[in-house]
Symmetry: C2
Subunit: 338 residues, 2 copies
């Protein structure tokens, strides 16, 4: 039986293995610093489809099929798919997954979705309900801009605090047994809303939630920053990064020398004109499936804390003058556990 | 440890107790046949707020606070909230829950969300990760019409196959220990899409998914229709009801004498002009929290199969000519188990 540590953390008794990962990204991501870690780089963000939404669904489908194949499994071996995206009513996920005939749990945690999927999937395995699960998340720059911001054709200017939604789908298979790395702890976040209202500055809206979850993780587990080789948030970007470091210092945690953010790693913000950095459910999903997983396999790091962050707003809530609630979920991934 | 039965069903070893339930509904639901079972009936669908979305968030907040209070618990006792709604980016749930300081998993299963929440919550408890969880789902007629159909001010006519979105929030607390009834089995659905494209006939779009899940449940568990006192789908309405019965008969299952649908029960379709019946995440959530739970406490039924159904479409997918994928999750709730 798994143990609950403190109020928000669980420690898995038989930590699920990350059996395989797969990632599909768009052309811009394929020109970024992490390019060589991705399985598939699209030449065309429409990928032969007649809408961006359909292209995103195709990424979901192909990435899940690939992660199953890379795990030497078949869809019949998969007990559940846990997946989500940013589109209204999870359009990308549901239309991508509908042909797969695998029981499906749709999730929405904005850009924290990948950690939500891994946490619930790991619970399903460690709890004895599943042998293999797929956790997947996606986003698409064009479908997101259309839905959340302005039509691309307008060519709107973007403030420097704005992030750039990643076009990508990342998936992992968790298995009851398998090789390293393993998912060993999960700290599930509460919603934190300090009143930030600018949807062009989501890093600032999400940083307090990330700080809350990371501090709680340290308190619940007894870990210190020095117990980690890497702490990587989802997509706070360069603005949120500074706020997070400051918030943690106020609580006497200095993580600066082991900390980065998926949104900072995935693009070269200077040459790629991405301002604060990458964002979107796909951002941390492909960074985990590509860069983080492969470098853990290379033993670059032994224990990492993966902390996707979500801005739980909608265009409607912003139009109605609401602030932006944030959430962050932390998952510990490590090569050795005893 | 829980047992997996067949491909899609789990049997809980220590079935979670439904510790308490709470429901809040709108004025129309308060005039329907189930009126006396609800905790709170609103006189005004705006509930003093300045938008329908904010009114729905208020329903979520107040219903969750009430279910915690009715369980003689405090928010600190709750390990996780599992919740969802129909609004873009789960606006109703996230803004309703943000003040509660409880770890939160956002779910989207369209009108199947309540079963998704109960299944994942029961897994969290039986797996040893939680002592108490809240499962909640909501919908609001006005926010749904605005988002999915037409502005109310247009006064559009509705075809007789259309359903009427329930204004309501229903919540349950599941506990590791507690009185009957208990959640004993969960059969998680796959997405089924037979190509129905009419968003004004969601019963037809969802009936094949309901049939698939119910048949799988019988096959996985060995139960026959006669093992159940009641089988109740989420919101197939009167059109989907007939299709479901026909599909099941083709597989030699006749459930007609123990079968009904939450969408049929919640309104008097003749006097209340609701056409095919009630729908929305809130429909089955308040029917469970009110009618089903209270009558199980009265021993009207010993074992029921609760099968919320979801139409996994968005306005965008319909505009792009897509069909409507359906999903249904089944949960067995019973007073006695051995």
């Amino acid at each position: 039986m798994a143990k609950k540590l403190g109020n928000q953390t669980i420690k898995f008794d038989l930590p699920p293995s990350i059996v395989s990962t797969a990632s599909t990204v768009g052309p811009k991501e394929g020109k970024g610093p992490l390019s060589s870690y991705f399985d598939v780089v699209l030449h065309d963000p429409l990928w032969g489809e007649d809408s961006w939404e359909k292209a995103e669904s195709k990424m979901v489908k192909k990435t899940i099929e690939r992660v199953i194949e890379k795990g030497n499994l078949t869809p019949e071996d998969i007990d559940y798919i846990f997946a989500g995206d940013l589109l209204n009513q999870l359009t990308a996920s549901t239309f991508g997954i509908r042909g797969l005939a695998v029981p499906f749990f749709g999730l929405f945690g904005a850009c924290s979705t990948m950690a939500e999927a891994i946490t619930l999937g790991a619970m399903a395995i460690d709890g004895g309900f599943a042998n293999y699960i797929v956790a997947e998340a996606s986003s698409h720059f064009c479908s997101s801009e259309k839905q959340f911001r302005f039509p691309l054709e307008l060519g709107n200017q973007r403030p420097l605090t704005a992030s750039w939604t990643v076009t990508g789908s990342g998936a992992v298979i968790l298995g009851k047994f398998g090789p390293s790395p393993y998912v060993t702890y999960a700290t599930t976040g509460k919603i934190v809303d300090l009143g930030i209202k600018d949807p062009m500055n989501m890093g600032a809206a999400m940083a307090p939630a990330a700080a809350d979850t990371i501090i709680t993780h340290f308190e619940d587990t007894g870990f210190l920053p020095s117990d980690y080789d890497l702490i990587i948030t989802g997509d706070l970007g360069s603005v949120g990064r500074e706020l997070l470091l400051e918030l943690l210092r106020k609580h006497n945690y200095d993580i600066e020398n082991i900390y980065t953010d998926c949104g900072i790693e995935i693009f070269d913000s200077v040459t790629q004109d991405t301002h604060a950095g990458g964002s979107g459910c796909g951002c941390c999903a492909v960074t985990l499936a590509g860069y983080l997983y492969k470098e853990m396999k290379n033993n670059k790091w032994n224990r990492i804390l993966f902390v996707p962050t979500g801005a739980l707003m909608s265009p409607g809530s912003t139009q109605q003058g609401e602030s932006i609630p944030g959430i962050a979920h932390a998952v510990t991934i490590e090569n050795n556990w005893a």
